[in-house]
Amino acid sequence: MGIQLDFPAVLERWPSFLGGAALTLELAALATMFGALLGTLAAVGRGTHNALIAGACKVYVETIRNTPLLVQIFLVYFGLASLGLKFSAFTVAVAALTINVGAYTAEIMRAGFEAIPRGQIEAAEGLALSRVQIYWHIILLPAVERVYPALTSQFVLLMLASSVCSQISAEELTAIANYIQSDTYRAFETYIIVAVLYVILSLVMRAGFWGLGLVLFPRRRRLGTPL
């Protein structure tokens, strides 16, 4: 049984593929942005002395990290609708991905915070920096710089995981692929093309994060050494 590949039959749908890839990238970008914010807040919250806030952050992080993404997406999508709140599949997808990546970001950020030597903070206090200055310059930025590689790979993973959003009718790349293969019956060709597109999307994201790193961490740019 030979396999005959017929790429032109599938490639003529390139506008659909491109639309799907664009939506995937859009989903990933929004979820990364909101997720980074949410995750940082959760990591800060987990480190506070307020037991209530620290406990709530811990429950959030552990719940999300120990349940499948698909289940979380269904919970948000069908849960909200049962409560009478109706959002588009895209909004729900962004929200669910944000909640998911936020928990992972929180754990990575916590590692970054814990890697800051106490002496560094004490030295800043000795120099009479304000609390906000200490948090920003002495804790947050060096912490982010340390865990930046782990963060970026988590965000790329998020982009790949966004493929399950096809389940709730978000027309991202995998949903488009499912449709095209069910219409052309060229499953092998379709998924090869989609796999290549995902690789390209990953590379685009990695390049973006590399550039962002250059802007965010001038010390590293000048010296080229990790902290």
């Binding site: 030979g2 609708a81 109706k86 096809s166 009718s169 499912n178 449709y179 019956y185």
Partner: protein, 264 residues
């Protein structure tokens, strides 16, 4: 690893690849009979055609048709679980021998697989909430319509570009039904059977058929170029229409009978 070992490994790898590349036999029917087993591609997430019962065993009208076929032919039955979109690829890639899974006969599909004569029919409609005022196409313009991706309803509605419909595509019927039950979509494009089932699941949201889409013949699908298997399947279908067994199975699960000429 020594050179001789390496050579041995390379030779056995080549043999293995050649074995994998040579077709086992030219005739699928012979293969099935020799294996004493038939692999049938059935979606087990589309009640009442295919579903799991309380003890997680497959049941449903397509499941019983498959079981009847295997019993009549004296074969062991293996269900190859599938979704609407992967039914056809399953037989094209040799993962399954035939499809019995609410497969409607369409010209597009006939280009890639062969169909037997019909063993059942399927009425598909646009279903909306009982309380809604939808009566015809103009009324569904601002409503979201849930469909299962890759089904005939999806294709039919997607081709109505001039009607400017808001189609939400889900990966299977179960998710689409949940979307309708929970209120994520206003209407669904599906079979009459499934539309009636939504109200059973959530009495607060009873759906009913409002706009007829089409009546499809359901047939068994198989890979092209298998005339002997095709003839045997057609003979089996004719026999079981005549003795009323297919109608009985359909009535048991769908609550309605097949068209008059298929009642035996």
């Amino acid at each position: 690893m020594t050179n001789r070992k390496l050579l041995g490994a390379a030779v056995s790898l080549c043999c293995f690849m050649m074995m994998a590349a040579t077709p086992a036999s030219a005739d699928l029917l012979d293969d099935i009979m020799k294996a004493k087993k038939i692999r049938i591609s059935t979606d087990l997430a589309i009640p009442p055609s295919g579903m799991m019962d309380a003890s997680m065993k497959p049941t449903g009208s397509d499941v019983e048709v498959a079981q009847l076929l295997a019993k009549d032919w004296g074969l062991e039955l293996e269900f190859v679980q599938t979704t609407g979109a992967t039914r056809i690829p399953n037989v094209l890639t040799g993962k399954a021998d035939i499809i019995i899974s609410t497969l409607s006969v369409t010209p597009e599909r006939a280009k890639v697989i062969d169909f037997t004569n019909r063993y059942a029919t399927l009425q598909s409609d646009i279903g909306c909430m009982k309380s809604s005022s939808v009566k015809g196409w103009p009324d569904v313009k601002d409503k979201s319509i849930g469909v299962s991706r890759g089904t005939t309803q999806d294709t039919t509605l997607s081709n109505m570009k001039d009607k400017d419909l808001k189609i939400a595509r889900f990966d299977d019927d179960a998710t689409m039904v949940t979307a309708a039950v929970s209120g994520q979509v206003d209407c669904v494009g599906s079979s009459a059977t499934i539309i009636n089932q939504i109200g059973v699941k959530n009495p607060a949201r009873v759906f009913e058929s409002r706009i007829p889409l089409a009546t499809f013949d359901l047939a068994i699908g198989l890979k092209k170029g298998e005339p002997r298997l095709m003839d045997k399947l057609n003979a089996w279908i004719a026999e079981n229409i005549k003795n009323g067994k297919l109608n009985a199975i359909y009535k048991k699960f769908h609550g309605v009978e097949l068209p008059l000429d298929m009642r035996g």
